[in-house]
């Protein structure tokens, strides 16, 4: 039996570097200045590219570092901690999707580009808000050597600046994935969405009128790989977000006075803060356990660990954000208070790729109905 949690030197180094990087590039003033931004932060993206972080999970033969997704976790966690808005997770999931579902040619064409800074994003969710990735309304029909797309996708992050989107569609009643390049999307087909987390640049993508060559249909359709990668990175972001929200709460509890006492001395505030800390410790343990199992290729155990991480984390982060607002009192009710930033981030993370009730429900047969 291998270790429950393995943590390599590479992971430790990345955690160190990424924490420092995000602290420097995403102080709270920068986060606020970028709320609702029109553009991605190109300079930071350039640095992320140069650091090699876009190639962490990409195989060496395609120009990456070949370290696997588990080494992306420390980076995503650090970004979450400092509320960094970045196309990073989207790009990583896109490269993971190409690696698991792309043909040799598709990988050779796109993976090296991603490693050198091309932005990819995923277009999976539809207006009905379903989390079932392979139940799809969008269609792709073959016509004159091209695929004609129709339907609508939502929550496509950074779609306006992406070099390509990977879109889930039905092709002859099969759930498939198709790569759409930026120049194939008419400007009028992208609409900025108003979303709860203002650090996110989210778009609706209308597929009607878009056509792409047949060879842009991905060879495979590994939706499980997409879901696993998404759950892992979201959970990492949640763990980081919990750390950030605890620091924010503790700082206020240690300075604000009420009735001549520092409010952190009141147990009504102190005890729930401890609960948030212990939730973080548990959820972070699930997270790195999941990363360990994924790295081993133990898919069954990885799935349990990932769903546990996302379920525990979704509830914990939402609670942390909720309490952060409450504990700041009147100030917490204002836009100027940073607590709302964490609450908004928490709610985004909670409702992307399944909330706690959804994942618990999926865990039920895995944990309760297997005998032996």
């Amino acid at each position: 039996m291998s270790d429950q949690i393995a943590f390599s030197e590479e992971q430790a180094m990345l955690l160190d570097t990424a924490t420092e990087f995000c602290r420097k590039h995403s102080p709270i003033e920068t986060v606020r200045a970028r709320l609702g931004a029109d553009q991605i932060d190109a300079a930071t993206w350039q640095e992320i590219t140069e650091l090699g972080w876009l190639g962490i999970n990409v195989a060496e033969e395609f120009g990456g570092l070949g370290l696997g997704l588990s080494c992306v976790v420390p980076v995503a966690e650090s970004m979450g901690r400092y509320l960094m808005g970045s196309p990073y997770s989207g790009a990583i999931i896109a490269s993971e999707c190409l690696a698991t579902s792309g043909s040799r040619t598709q990988k050779e064409e796109w993976l090296p580009k991603i490693v050198s800074g091309a932005i990819g994003s995923m277009a999976l969710t539809e207006p009905n808000g379903s989390w079932l990735l392979d139940e799809i309304g969008a269609q792709a029909v073959e016509r004159a050597d091209r695929l004609e797309l129709s339907g609508t996708k939502c929550f496509v992050t950074d779609a306006d600046t992406s070099d390509f989107c990977i879109v889930s569609v039905n092709v002859e009643a099969q759930a498939r994935l198709v790569l759409v390049k930026r120049e194939q999307i008419p400007a009028g087909n992208l609409h900025r969405e108003v979303v709860i987390d203002e650090t996110r640049r989210s778009y609706q993508l209308d597929l009607d009128g878009i056509t792409v060559p047949l060879d842009q249909l991905l060879k495979g359709s590994d939706f499980q790989a997409i879901e696993f990668a998404s759950l892992l990175l979201l959970s990492a972001e949640i763990a980081g977000g919990l750390v950030g929200s605890i620091h924010t709460i503790v700082e206020y509890l240690n300075t604000r006075k009420a009735f001549d006492k520092v409010i952190g001395s009141y147990q009504a505030l102190k005890h729930p803060t401890v609960k948030i800390l212990l939730d973080l410790e548990a959820m972070r343990s699930h997270l790195y356990h999941a990363a360990t199992r994924l790295a081993e290729g133990n898919t069954d155990e990885a799935e349990v660990a990932l769903r546990m991480a996302k379920a525990h984390g979704s509830a914990a982060f939402a609670f942390a954000g909720d309490r952060a607002v409450q504990f700041h009192g009147g100030f917490g009710f204002t836009y100027d208070c940073d607590a709302q930033l964490y609450l908004r981030r928490a709610l985004w993370c909670q409702y992307q790729f399944g909330d706690e009730a959804y994942h618990r429900h999926l865990l039920e047969p895995m944990l309760l109905d297997q005998t032996g």
Binding site: I246, L277, L278, E281, R284, S285, H286, M308, L363, L368
Partner: protein, 401 residues
């Protein structure tokens, strides 16, 4: 036996496993306690004492303790294997917990040759049951404030005062006793002394306390001019605090050297899942109820997270912001989880959740009793509320409440 091979160990494990399989006690016909703190009837006590004696006589207890005092002088790994086997076969626990795990290792470490000859073998065989006299009604967590007095008078010490939460007090032959021999000195700790005190002495009266379960699991022990021989003093007068601290390192498992054997019947969430297959709600097994299923999964998630924390705490790079969070919250997490598991186990039983220890109750009412007993974990050793304060103050750096 310095170089033990894996082959030897495997053979040994097979032998142990076979012995326990053949010799495990049959169902006593009454509900057994789950820890030594819960032993409430003579029947329960005798059953467990006999079982400990049998295990000792078979050679599976005190295996690493010195041969000259009743142990077997073997490497610790053999005892660990035997202990693991007792746990995995879910056998009854060794009731002389304080003797085996606290007083015994203490005597081996700090006692005189005479002490070792006199006490160790009978601790192992459960001939002499030991209890602990540390807490007092007015000094719970604040041990240094103990007020029970010991006054030297000729060849005796005369003891006055009382101790509380004395588990097995009525069965014990000896007590590890912390008492005040002086009120002067540099501080409150300086006047404390440590005794290996006999219990069957005039003036020592362990009075059973009835617990919320209705059972009697521990005592308040009254001392009324009780005379104990002066040679019961361990070390010198004034050494009490230091010896008590050494005892606590054994009690908390921070130091090795215990006799081995399991001390409690562990409860895991899998036991609750197993119960949910048998317990019925509205004519169907509870495990088919959507509400129960969701709660089970939630607790399984928490339980797994709790287990994984010790693995993660061993990786310093993953404990940078609050390195003490995991170690300082162990009791809080474990005891609260156990309480909530027991709560769920009761709540999934339909109308039968309202039963208590009786033949009609599911599993004889074990779950209801476990739920009530689980408060010993969330209250004893500093309540969960105090634990929240400790973590908030020492880990997060919040001001004192």
């Amino acid at each position: 036996m310095t170089n033990t091979t894996d082959i030897e160990l495997n053979e040994f494990r097979e032998g142990v496993s076979a012995w326990f399989n053949e010799n495990k006690p049959s169902d006593p016909g009454f509900l057994l306690p789950e820890t030594f703190m819960e032993v409430g009837t003579d029947l329960q006590f005798e059953f467990l004492r006999d079982w400990q004696r049998k295990v000792y006589e078979a050679g599976y207890l005190g295996m690493a303790w010195p041969e000259e005092y009743g142990g077997r002088g073997m490497p610790q790994v053999f005892q660990d294997i035997a202990t693991q086997e007792m746990a995995s076969q879910r056998l009854p626990f060794m009731p002389n917990t304080i003797g085996l795990n606290w007083a015994g290792p203490l005597i081996l470490k700090m006692g005189t040759e005479e002490d070792k000859q006199k006490y160790i073998k009978n601790i192992l065989s459960a001939e002499d049951i030991w209890c602990q006299g540390f807490s007092e009604p007015e000094a719970g967590s604040d041990l240094g404030n103990s007020q029970c007095r010991a006054v030297r008078d000729g060849d005796d010490y005369v003891i006055n005062g009382s101790k509380i939460w004395t588990s097995l007090g009525t069965y014990a032959k000896y007590m590890i006793l912390l008492a005040r021999t002086s009120s002067s000195g540099a501080n409150k700790y300086a006047g404390l002394s440590y005794f290996l005190a006999p219990m069957q002495v005039e003036g020592i009266d362990p009075k059973p306390i009835q617990k919320l379960t209705g059972e009697y699991g521990f005592c308040q022990t009254y001392f009324d001019d009780a005379r104990i021989p002066a040679d019961c003093l361990m070390g010198s007068e004034g050494d009490g605090w230091n010896i008590a601290m050494v005892t606590l390192t054994f009690e908390r498992g921070a130091t090795g050297g215990q006799a081995g054997g399991i001390a409690t019947m562990e409860l895991s969430i899998n036991d609750v899942v197993e119960l949910s297959r048998r317990a019925m709600r509205n004519g169907k097994p509870a495990i088919e109820d959507p509400h129960i299923r969701s709660q089970l999964v939630q607790l399984m998630t928490e339980s797994r997270g709790n287990q994984l924390m010790s693995a993660r705490a061993r990786i310093p790079a993953l404990a940078t912001d609050w390195p003490a969070a995991v170690p300082l919250s162990g009791k809080l997490r474990g005891s609260e989880l156990k309480r909530r598991m027991c709560q769920l186990a009761v709540s999934l039983q339909g109308a039968n959740g309202a039963r208590f220890v009786s033949e009609e109750a599911i599993d004889g009412g074990k779950w209801q009793r476990s739920y009530f007993n689980s408060f010993s974990g969330t209250i004893g050793g500093g309540t969960s509320e105090i634990q929240h304060n400790i973590v908030g103050e020492r880990v997060l750096g919040l001001p004192k409440s």
